[in-house]
């Protein structure tokens, strides 16, 4: 069978010479640009299922924007009405339970997909040259999505919303020097009330739409550097690539279907897994619920926060856990990208995932007794991996490679 030559982009405009497409081509060549980027776009032929998550994230993001817009039409951001308007969405608005269910499930699975997507980059060295900007824009997205998710969780103004917001604003207040002023601006008053809730509401959907813009940048980066692949070697030519359509459109579609099945199973059969019963009680500023804990996707950071015996130190540790990822492209100097060919790094990454999960467990069980010890060890390992282990391993690998073949050029091994 015959396929368009994947590298032969220059001839693409010829297909849009007549009619409306031709007219557009002269003025705004979106049709040929689309063909170039989403039909003929050369993709490495050896991508595995971990490369499905970018497409999944895009679709979930669109679903979040759509459901969120419709929820916003029925939500009232005041401390007196927020809880009841959310309940009314669940119980009175036609289809409202499904819209809210999709939004809640979507938020959880969005973060889950983000973690997998990020781990893919970590494991296959997708953060290395020339993809540093891709990695950094991804991290900006991670931070923005986390902020959006947190703001969203405050909106129903249930017990967990309220006390989560309370802890968060107090944590901001713990920043030396500027903290208390910042906290005051954030809460917009001396207590968490209407002003705060209204700000959080506006922040929530402003950030959601800003995420779309940054995703545009992120995807533009992918299209400049092209996708990496599990081997970490750039394709040598057309024999190593396949056109995006139909090969990866259909693969992405299958990934989306499997994801939609998991999504529906959680939404329709196990909604309790992703929701917190305590948040179905209206916010009560006079009574903190017994087991206050954040959503599962914040647990590792919450664990770190608790393992450090200092108010500001805990905050710093939790924030640094993400900040350190920004330095990754420069911490890991090894020319080898994929962990497939880096046994020491592979072992270290397995430990990193373990440490991350352990920190989540610490967050859930509160850092006391042996959990405190586990939390500190896991936290030490987490930072040790990035700041010590990875730089050391990469230096040794570099030296070995140089010794084996002094002519090997950097960056494409």
């Amino acid at each position: 069978m015959k396929h368009p030559e994947t590298q032969d982009h220059t001839s693409a405009p010829a297909a849009f010479s007549g009619g409306f497409a031709g007219w557009m081509e002269q003025r705004l060549p979106i049709f040929s640009a689309f063909r170039k980027e989403y039909v003929d776009f050369p993709m490495p032929r050896n991508l595995n299922w971990l490369w499905n998550f970018g497409a999944i994230l895009v679709v979930v993001l669109l679903l979040m924007l759509a459901t969120g817009t419709f929820l916003a039409m029925n939500y009232t951001p005041t401390s007196a009405e927020a809880f009841f308007s959310t309940e009314a969405i669940d119980r009175q608005l036609s289809g409202g339970w499904l819209l809210r269910g999709m939004h809640v499930t979507g938020a959880s699975l969005f973060l889950a997909a983000l973690y997998i997507h990020l781990f893919r980059g970590l494991y296959y060295g997708s953060y290395k040259a020339p993809r540093e900007l891709l990695w950094l824009s991804g991290l900006v997205l991670l931070v923005m999505v986390m902020g959006t998710a947190f703001a969203g969780y405050v909106l129903p103004w249930g017990q967990m919303s309220y006390w989560g917001a309370d802890v968060m604003t107090k944590a901001v207040g713990a920043i030396p020097v500027v903290g208390s002023a910042l906290e005051h601006v954030l809460t917009g008053g001396d207590h968490l009330g209407d002003v705060f809730l209204h700000r959080v509401f506006v922040l929530h959907f402003i950030m959601a739409f800003l995420v779309v813009g940054v995703v545009g940048l992120h995807v533009a980066c992918v299209h400049i550097t092209k996708s990496g692949n599990p081997l970490g070697r750039e394709p040598k030519g057309p024999q190593d690539t396949l056109p995006f359509h139909p090969y990866y459109t259909s693969k992405d579609l299958i990934g989306l279907i499997v994801f939609a099945m998991v999504f529906s199973a959680l939404l329709f059969f196990w909604p309790g897994l992703l929701t917190e019963p305590a948040n179905y009680a209206p916010a009560d500023p006079l009574h903190t619920p017994a087991d206050i804990e954040p959503e599962w996707y914040f647990l590792p950071f919450y664990g770190l926060l608790q393992s450090v015996p200092s108010k500001f130190g805990g905050l710093l540790a939790a924030a640094s856990a993400i900040l350190v990822l920004f330095a990754l492209p420069w911490l890991d100097q090894s020319p080898v990208r994929s962990a497939r060919f880096r046994p020491a790094c592979r072992l270290g990454l397995a430990g990193l995932v373990m440490a991350f999960i352990l920190l989540a467990a610490v967050g859930k069980h509160h850092a006391t007794g042996e959990w405190m010890l586990i939390g500190r060890l896991a936290g030490l390992y987490y930072f040790g991996f990035f700041l010590v282990l990875l730089p050391l391993v990469s230096r040794r690998e570099k030296a070995q490679l140089q010794a084996a073949s002094p002519t090997t050029s950097e960056g494409d091994a």
């Binding site: 069978m1 759509a66 029925n74 009175q92 608005l93 036609s94 289809g95 819209l99 396949l242 579609l253």
Partner: protein, 215 residues
């Protein structure tokens, strides 16, 4: 450029001679995707359905004992303003004045703008009290009640502030104004001479307000 042989085509067969299977798969995929997207749209469309709350459809009881002859009051029924006015004998006489009726667009209440039991010269259940939904039949502004001036032979009327439609004290629209119909009369009963219940028909009557010509 070579690609792996297509597993769906038997060896030796060119794709162009057996287009059926691949086309079929493509069509099934497209149809499946479109169906799925359409199904996902259901909750979104559903949520836009107008929500009429049952509470808004409860009858509204109004006490008229404080309403003096010549006064009018405004109350709310189903979110709409309802004018209740107590007409004086002089005003009632003017409603029957044939010469004045010449100036009205629909003096005999031919258009369905009132329940059958209010299709009479006073457009109400008892002549003394007039009950009208206070929404101009032109473009929906709320007409203002103009009380009679002290000059002899003067009477009150309703004037719409938006485009100048006038209605007499039976809610009938005057000629030469943009409003096409008389003000609607809501369904109501008078359980006692000084109470009025909006939204309920007298026994034996089955008037549905939503069937009127125009609000």
């Amino acid at each position: 450029m070579t690609h792996p042989t297509d597993p769906t085509t038997a060896p030796g067969q060119d794709e162009s001679t057996v287009p059926g299977r691949r086309d079929f798969l493509g069509m099934v995929t497209t149809a499946g995707t479109v169906t799925g997207l359409a199904a996902c749209a259901i909750p979104f469309v559903e949520s836009l359905k107008p929500q009429d709350s049952a509470a808004a459809h409860q009858p509204v009881e109004v006490d008229l004992s404080k309403l003096a002859p010549g006064q009018q009051m405004t109350t709310v029924w189903q979110g709409k303003p309802v004018f209740i006015l107590r007409r004086t004998p002089e005003e009632l006489a003017r409603l029957q004045n044939a010469a004045l009726n010449e100036t009205l667009r629909d003096a005999q209440s031919e258009a369905l703008q009132q329940p059958p039991y209010a299709r009479n010269w006073h457009r109400s259940v008892v002549p003394e009290y007039g009950v009208y939904v206070g929404i101009c039949t032109h473009l929906g502004c709320v007409p203002a009640y103009m009380p009679p001036t002290p000059a002899p032979d003067q009477t009150g009327f309703y004037a719409c502030p938006c485009h100048g439609s006038h209605f007499d004290l039976a809610g009938r629209v005057l000629k030469g104004a943009p409003a096409p119909y008389n003000l609607p009369v809501p369904p109501y009963v008078m359980p006692t001479p000084t109470t009025l219940r909006l939204g309920e028909n007298p026994k034996g009557e089955t008037f549905d307000f939503s069937t009127i010509e125009q609000i």
